[in-house]
């Protein structure tokens, strides 16, 4: 009984600590949200107030009139299509690296080369990517922002580690039943990797949604711009339009939050699964 009481107390303390940490994490978002309704005269007024004293939604109206939904639409296309391709490529590549590791001798060496690539910061590759995009005739084309970044070692790594935890006998049984390699991958292995798929979907969506440098370099028509480029345009040479930045930021994080809320229960499982050594 004494042990049970101690356990309850521990749970209670951990819960309180967790809630405090969560509050600490979410507080900037709450501040951002309320500030987006403050008129500019209140934004930097001292003493600071969390709640707007004279709520004003004109910044939201302004950013919508500036074409925010066009930019959101472009970002959604970039994020959704980019994520679908990333997940597809990562799953197939991870499958090959895991399942053929005993059949093809150099598979692990290929994987080592992939891992070496993670040592190079993505931003360093931007110049090379931009040059390739230009030469391919994809300048000022949204596909020029998608194709260079659809492959991700992180995604391949996650799938490979997950598939390595699955007995090879399962694949062998599929082959004995006469299934093609693609059918085994699609019907047997891909569903088993659903937790990794969901985790990578969330990550990839966030990466593509927040992409900045490549879209900035590649896109040159205003109507093709993404939300991140649009938000930056509120920073002027003589001042910053904080109201518009706050309103646009709030609207820009809504898709990420929705995706996270819908899929969050799978994140931990996916990460844990990808770390299992086969």
């Amino acid at each position: 009984m004494e042990g049970a009481g101690k356990r309850k107390l521990e749970v209670c303390l951990v819960t309180i600590l967790g809630m405090a940490a969560a509050l600490l994490m979410i507080f900037p978002i709450i501040w951002l949200c309320f500030s987006s309704f403050k008129p500019s005269s209140e934004l930097f007024a001292y003493p600071l107030h969390l709640f707007p004293q004279d709520p004003d939604g004109s910044a939201y109206q302004g950013v919508v009139e500036d074409g925010l939904f066009t930019y959101v639409k472009n970002s959604l296309f970039l994020a959704v299509v980019g994520t679908l391709i990333t997940v597809g490529i990562s799953a197939m590549c991870g499958y090959a690296l895991a399942i053929y590791r005993k059949e093809i001798s150099y598979v692990n060496k290929v994987f080592a080369v992939f891992l070496l690539g993670t040592l190079i910061p993505g931003e360093i590759l931007t110049i090379a990517q931009f040059t390739v995009v230009s030469e391919m005739g994809l300048y000022n084309n949204i596909w020029g922002c998608i194709l260079p970044v659809v492959t991700t070692t992180t995604g391949i790594f996650m799938y490979r580690q997950h598939y390595m935890s699955i007995p090879l006998e399962l694949v062998e049984s599929g082959r004995l039943d006469g299934a093609s390699e693609f059918h085994i991958f699609r019907a047997l292995m891909l569903p088993l990797g659903s937790s990794v798929t969901i985790t990578l979907t969330i990550f990839s969506f966030m990466w593509r949604w927040n992409d900045y440098i490549l879209p900035l370099m590649v896109l040159s028509d205003q109507e093709n711009f993404t939300i991140q480029i649009a938000i930056k345009s509120y920073i002027g040479t003589m001042g910053v339009d904080w109201n518009s930045i706050l309103a646009a930021s709030i609207l820009s994080i809504i898709p990420i939050i929705v995706i996270f809320i819908v899929l969050q229960r799978y994140i931990t499982g996916g990460l844990a699964a990808s770390g299992v050594k086969g």
């Binding site: 007024a45 001292y46 931007t126 440098i213 370099m217 345009s233 002027g236 040479t237």
Partner: protein
């Protein structure tokens, strides 16, 4: 770390792209390229039915003077307008990438591209009559960094100026200076102390954390960063006069200014301090006027002339210019718009919306109220205080060698980390080494 890589990548990108500019651009001379001949240009009359692509640096807000002018011109001439908004910082990376892909805009509103890449832009002497413009504005805002060519015509003209809290002055029993009877810098510091004590403000005086704001103290006291030395320059930033100026500024930070701002302890913006009624006097610039007029309701503010130093008054001017890329698709159309904008009646209308000091000699902005008229007259008058020493410093393009290091040296002196003398000596050494210029002191 990620931000550092992003900055490094953007910087690297800009360098690589800038190198490619040499290969891509400038081939068509100052009057534009082949593309200019394909834009529906007609020697007999204005061009119509074309699209003018304009690159601007920020989402237009209230009082979008340029947008309004473009719209009006578009309606009058039957041409279309297509805007592309690239933030000021990103233009450095974006413009070279556009050049590499032969995707130049027809017109650019920029504070630096035309000065950094003059070979990419049309020489404006062939577009408008430059004698009609404020020559200082042309030199500072429109001139190439590497030659005498005017590659941009200022569409935005700003000057440093001083704002003050009228309520705080009244409470402290202090009368504001006038154009005819300006304060000295010593008087400003002394009065700031009184205002801080009796004016119901936390700080008597605040100044933007910008070397361009600090430098007006330096120029007023006869100092400069460099001096002309034959065909070259010599570094004079550590002159005795400059050390004395910085020493006094450090003292003022300890006594009447929000020291944490200049000492690097906070990223607070002193402009917000003034807007909140926490600072009695603000050294900033004319670009704040309209925001102050709309946002400040707790007290009445005013504009006062810059104090005198041992060498007189001083001001630093700046702004944004309209520049025409030589390899744009519609060079002639862009020229047509620039010529239209700077016709007196169009520029006068433009200026009424922009609400800024004028860049054209015979045209001034006429505010609606007497108060604003008086205050704009003071700001316009400030542009006369641009010193020869400032012009020499600008001509030297010293910022190509060292830039932020100067402000960092000033901040280290204010924080007390090093003495004013060591701060300026250290920066003089660094600038001299980078530029190859001899030291004057």
């Amino acid at each position: 770390m990620k931000k550092m890589f992003q900055k490094a990548a953007a910087g690297g990108m800009a360098v690589v792209m800038a190198m490619s500019l040499a290969a891509c651009g400038g081939s068509s001379g100052k009057d534009g390229g082949e593309a200019a001949q394909q834009g529906g240009a007609s020697a007999d009359g204005p061009i119509t039915g074309q699209t003018l692509q304009v690159m601007i640096s920020e989402e237009p807000g209230e009082g979008d003077a340029l947008g309004n002018a473009l719209k009006q011109w578009s309606q009058e001439t039957g041409n279309e307008i297509k805007q592309i908004i690239i933030s000021h910082d990103d233009m450095r990376s974006k413009f070279p990438s556009m050049a590499k892909n032969k995707d130049m805009p027809d017109l650019v509103a920029t504070t630096f591209l035309h000065q950094l890449y003059p070979e990419e832009f049309v020489d404006m002497s062939g577009v408008v009559d430059l004698s009609k413009f404020n020559q200082s504005a042309l030199k500072i805002v429109g001139k190439s960094y590497s030659s005498e060519a005017i590659t941009g015509i200022p569409d935005q003209f700003t000057t440093t100026c001083m704002f003050y809290n009228k309520d705080a002055f009244a409470a402290a029993g202090i009368e504001a200076p006038t154009v005819d009877k300006p304060w000295t810098w010593d008087q400003l510091y002394d009065n700031a102390k009184v205002i801080q004590e009796k004016g119901n403000v936390k700080y008597g005086f605040a100044a933007d954390v910008s070397r361009a704001r600090y430098d007006i103290l330096m120029y007023a006291n006869g100092g400069s960063l460099v001096e002309q030395d034959g065909d070259s320059f010599k570094v004079t930033v550590n002159s005795p006069a400059n050390i004395a100026t910085l020493t006094r500024f450090v003292q003022a930070n300890n006594e009447v200014m929000p020291k944490a701002i200049w000492a690097g302890g906070t990223t607070d913006n002193p402009v917000e301090y003034f807007k909140n009624g926490d600072a009695g006097i603000l050294l900033s610039g004319s670009w704040n006027y309209n925001t102050f007029a709309s946002d400040i309701s707790k007290f009445e503010f005013g504009v006062m002339p810059t104090p005198k130093g041992s060498a007189g008054q001083s001001a630093i001017i700046g702004g944004e210019a309209l520049a025409i890329p030589a390899n744009g698709k519609n060079v002639e159309l862009a020229k047509q718009f620039v010529q239209w904008l700077f016709e007196p009646e169009h520029y006068a209308e433009f200026l009424q919306i922009r609400k800024e000091p004028s860049v054209m000699n015979d045209i001034t902005y006429t505010p609606d109220t007497d108060k604003a008229k008086e205050e704009f007259a003071i700001m316009q008058n400030e542009t006369n205080y641009v010193t020869d020493t400032f012009m020499v410093d600008e001509n030297s393009s010293w910022r190509n060698y060292k830039d932020n290091e100067y402000r960092d040296s000033l901040k280290r002196a204010v924080s007390g980390e090093i003495t004013p003398e060591d701060a300026l000596n250290g920066f003089a050494d660094a600038l001299s080494q980078s530029s190859g210029w001899a030291k004057g002191y």
